[in-house]
Every structure is written in C-alpha cells, then in structure tokens.
C-alpha cells in the first residue's frame, strides 16, 4: 500500500519539514503521495523528489490548517493508505492525533528511525530514552522528527496531480490572526549553523551580540527556555524538549547552563560549542569545544576572530 504525507505549507511555500517527512515515507514505500490542502504551490509540490502523486484539495477552509477541517479530509483519504505521515512540528502535532482518533488507531509521535513497516524508534523522556514500538493497527499514523531524516530534494520529481473531493467545513474553529517572527536569517530547524543564547544573556538587547556572530556565519539564532520565559526573545526561538528540535552542523550555546530539556533539543548537533563563565555548567558535558569565559568578552572577540578567518 502507498504512503500519504500531509504537507505543511503556507503562502510562502512548502515548508522544508515536509521534505524531511517525504524522506521517511520513501523509506517505507516508493509510492508516496503528498496531500496539499488549501491554497498551495501545486507546481513546486509536483517537483519534489520521491513524490509520485500530489493530491490537491484547494478549498479555503483548509488554509491555516485548522485541525477541525483538515482532519476529516485526511481521514477520508486514509483508508487507501498503509501509513499517514506528517512532520512532528506544531502543524503535525496538532492535526495527526485528531486524524488517528477519528480512525480509531494509535498515533506514533516523533519517530527517529524506521525498523520495518510497523516498527519504529521514538524518543521518550526528553530523549533520555529511546522506545522501540510496534504498531498493531491497520493504518499507521505517524509524526516524523525532521532532523532524523535527511530531506529529499525540492527538485527532480514529476508527480501526477489529482484533485480530491473536499469535505464539509466544520465551522467549529476559525483563524483570526498570526504574528510570525520576520527574519532575514535561516529558519532554526533547517539552519546549518545555530547560535543560541540563554539566561546568561541578561536581556533581549544583548542578543545583538549573537546577531553579530550570526551575520558572519549565516547562522540562525535560538534561545533556551529560560531566555524565552524571561522575555528576552519570542517563543519561536526556543530550542528544547517542548520547543524546536534542531541538529545543525554547528551549534553554539552561549550563556546556556544546559538543562535536560534544552539538551533534548540540540544534542544531535554535529559539533557543539559552549561558552559559559561557569565551568560547572552541564552544557560542557555535551560540548565538543568548551570555552569558560564571560560571554560579554568572548562574543566581541569571536566576531573579530571570525573576521580574520572567514
């Protein structure tokens, strides 16, 4: 049977998380279909590597991916599939459990490995343990940890396009507005380099020091929960168990002590650098390179040093 991937997309295009999810789908089966619900870029969707068919449900009730409208559509399509996948982002986490319950099947959250068509590995306890679970359900409804699967290319596919019948709008919920952070920098979950600040940054103003470095490295800027809770930066900066899960090539943690819940969000990064004046900070236990120094001295020096070598 084929695999259905529910695309995360908006007016800016198809989110990279979708291509990571397609990669997982292709591990399961070569017949991967992509559902594009609401106003979307059908043309781009059909060119994604590995996608055989794009299912289009272009009705405005699906814009903004309200779970009450989107879930019945996915449920209606699901009976033709062995697996239904979505990225484990706030989009997928919102919609897929609703789909699973309507199908009367379990949902498997945040898989990081596929062992067979019905057996998966997923982190529990903030990634401090890995559970291997086998699904006994006829349809497997799964959210995929995007950092665990290398994204397929945005080009190279030539999928057929098929319109699907839309479902009746629920009228239970409506979208009012959104405040999305605008940034010229790469998006956290797809950035190659990330520099994050913690409580040690002392205030939001001081994040400028991180921007100086980020500008030089083309890096995204993240934050620990402590920094977000203290109001230094908005919630979408948060890296951790309940924030974003990232795995860049280089992660620079500045003024971050390294609470378990923060480590859960970044410990799969290839190279980790920690800058902290407290040499006992737990972040040093996972850092490849640790620098014990006051960040207000280290960051300007780092900017200068980078100018010399880049």
């Amino acid at each position: 049977m084929s695999v259905l991937v529910v695309a995360e997309h908006d007016e800016t295009g198809i989110q990279p998380a979708t291509r990571h999810t397609i990669a997982a789908a292709c591990e399961l089966n070569t017949d991967t279909h992509l559902l594009l619900a609401g106003k979307g870029d059908i043309e781009s969707a059909s060119r994604i590597e590995g996608v055989v068919k794009v299912l289009v449900a272009s009705d405005e009730q699906y814009n903004h991916a309200l779970a009450e409208n989107l879930a019945p559509l996915v449920v209606k399509l699901a009976c033709d599939y062995s697996h239904v996948l979505a990225p484990a982002t706030t989009f997928g986490k919102n919609v897929l459990p609703r789909v699973a319950a309507l199908l009367d099947v379990a949902q498997i959250s945040d898989i990081v490995r596929i062992l067979s068509a019905d057996t998966f590995v997923r982190p529990i306890y903030a990634g401090n343990a890995l559970a291997t679970v086998q699904s006994l359900d006829p349809i497997k409804v799964i959210t995929v940890r995007t950092t665990a699967f290398k994204a397929v290319s945005a080009e190279g596919g030539s999928a057929t396009i098929e319109a699907v019948e839309v479902t009746k709008a629920s009228n239970l919920s409506s979208f009012l507005r959104q405040e999305l952070s605008k940034s010229e920098r790469p998006e956290l979950t797809s950035a190659r380099i990330i520099i994050s600040g913690g409580r040690g940054m002392q205030n939001g103003e001081n994040f400028k020091l991180l921007e100086e470095i980020a500008d030089r490295l083309g890096a995204a800027i993240g934050a620990s929960r402590a920094a977000v809770d203290a109001g230094f930066v908005p919630n979408d900066y948060q890296v951790g168990q309940t924030g974003k899960i990232v795995a860049p090539d280089l992660y620079i943690a500045v003024g971050i002590s390294g609470a378990i819940q923060h480590l859960a969000g970044m410990k799969d990064s290839k190279v980790i650098v920690a800058i902290n004046k407290d040499e006992e900070a737990p972040i040093f236990q996972v850092a490849d390179y640790g620098l014990v120094e006051d960040l207000f001295k280290a960051l300007p020096a780092l900017a200068e040093e980078l100018d010399k070598v880049l």
């Binding site: 706030t90 989009f91 319950a101 959250s109 699904s135 239970l172 809770d229 190279v271």
Partner: protein, 250 residues
Amino acid sequence: MKALVAVKRVIDYNVRIRVKADNTGVETANTKMSMNPFDEIAVEEAVRLKEDGIVTEIVVATIGIPKCQETLRTALAMGADHAILVETEADMEPLAVAKILKVLVEKKEIDLVLAGKQAIDDDSNQTGQMLAALLGWPQGTFASNVAIKDGKAEIVREVDGGLETISLTLPAIITTDLRLNEPRYASLPNIMKAKQKPLDIVKAEELGIDVGSRLKLLKVEEPTKREAGTKVESVTELVEKLKNEAGALG
C-alpha cells in the same frame, strides 16, 4: 460552565531517569513523582477562569494506580472542586486515555476541557487532540493565552513560526503551553481543605470501553551518550579548532 482538567502523574522533571536493566522501560520505583508540569498549568488556568467567574466548577481527573490520588489532592489544593481517579494498573496509551476522558466529559456534563499539551514522560502530545476528535469538539492546542467570552474561546497558540490566534466554538478543548501562566503553590490551609474535598474512584474496567494497547513496546534503551570534548583556552584557539579540526566553519 463546568471544566474538566486532565492530569497525569509522572516522574518529577528534576529527576534524571534510569532505563531498566532488562530494557522493558524506565525505573519508576523509589523515584520522585509529581504532576506533569504542563498539567499544573492547565489546573492553574481552570482556577483562574473560576476566579474570573467564567468557570463555576472544576473537576480534575487522572487515570492510574491508587497513588495517583496524591496528584489529584495537589490539584484540589490548587483550587479544583472535585476529583476522579480512574483506577488501573495498565499503562494507558493516549487513545485509551481519550476514550476514558470522553466518558467522564459526558457523565459530568463538562463544557470545557483543559490538559497539558504533552506529558514529559512519553512526550506523546496527543491526548487533548484525540479527545477533541472523539467528542467532535474544536481544539486549541499549545495555548499561551485563553480568553472566553460570548460563547467562544479565543486562543493564542505557540506555533513554530511565532503566535497564532484562533477562535473556537464552545464546548472546546484547550491544551496548555509553558507560558500560559505560572502555577500557584498551594497554601497550607488549602492543602488541609483539599483533604475534605470529594475524590471518587472508579475502576477503568467498569467504564465498559475498549482500552486495549495498539502499540507493543518492544524495548527501551539509553541513547548513545555524547562525550564531553575539550576545553579551549581562548576565542582564538576556539576559532582555530572549529576551522581546522572540526571543519565547521564551511
């Protein structure tokens, strides 16, 4: 308006967990247990809605072993009025939990359900959404602000790109995110008072619903540990190592 708050007893968030030697799960014996932190936020929000005159009665419920009564007493001390323990020895999956909660919602004529967005043990992040599906109610997940007026709930949601505001018809389900509120500490007089509040116990099997497992847990393992690397003496050495040793600067 009558509110139900669903809570879960989990290993305390400060405890470093241990995987059992036989790989069947995580050690919970002799481990400090607490209310799931996200559920505490849900209890707090319900209490605030009651203080604002929107909610008239708060029912708090959990599913699990007799010891879960402690978690319910905590919620009662924070301000819930009435508690229900659905007693079982089984480890319930989110779908089964949602089915049980649905029975409670119908029995107690609930108009609003609040729950944490995820439990910090299995990190599933499913139960609220599943309950909403089973009841045919709208869902406001990952809420960082809740405003209820004119028969609607306006929810600010923490999404990956920032914040999103949606409007839900009532009855509805709200799952709470970290920054919705800061839960209060129960005062000693309230802890004493909570001991007198009603706490009903029902057996899960008496509810007559299918709560069987849909997933087989094959094993639980520790992830590969990341080794601590080296300390560098200066920013110059750091940049040199990143460039030449790690090749991380492009």
